[in-house]
Symmetry: C2
Subunit: 81 residues, 2 copies
Amino acid sequence: MKALVYVSFKKTVLDPQGQTIRKALVGMGHHSIAEVRQGKVFEIDLAPGTERKQAEAEIGQIANDVLANPVIEEYRVEIVD
Amino acid sequence: MKALVYVSFKKTVLDPQGQTIRKALVGMGHHSIAEVRQGKVFEIDLAPGTERKQAEAEIGQIANDVLANPVIEEYRVEIVD
């Protein structure tokens, strides 16, 4: 079983890295780029035999406690397979 | 229109950052975590009126030339809206 955790800044938090990428792209002639925000994605392989319900609970806890900072970041968990 | 670009190391490339996260999680008692790989996600807003076909071509080019290093990374483009 595999889990994907997407972590990105909350909409209300400035993302200077994304702004820099946007400026660079516009400078390269990509004038249709209005905004860029950069986030992280964690691809987590779970040990064989892990149950889906247990995986959902465990990955949700890991995302909230370790992978994301809930003060400034939001996350989305996706369980695949 | 919005585009999502997912960038991650190729499977053949070592991901020390992911390995460190895995070790930390196992150390915290999450023994079901077999592997962690970390990637990046870029959320790109396109100017209103951009056509889907043009957006796909432009974002594909940006992903290949700027956002990912095709030597060691693979990427996936998703156009939404």
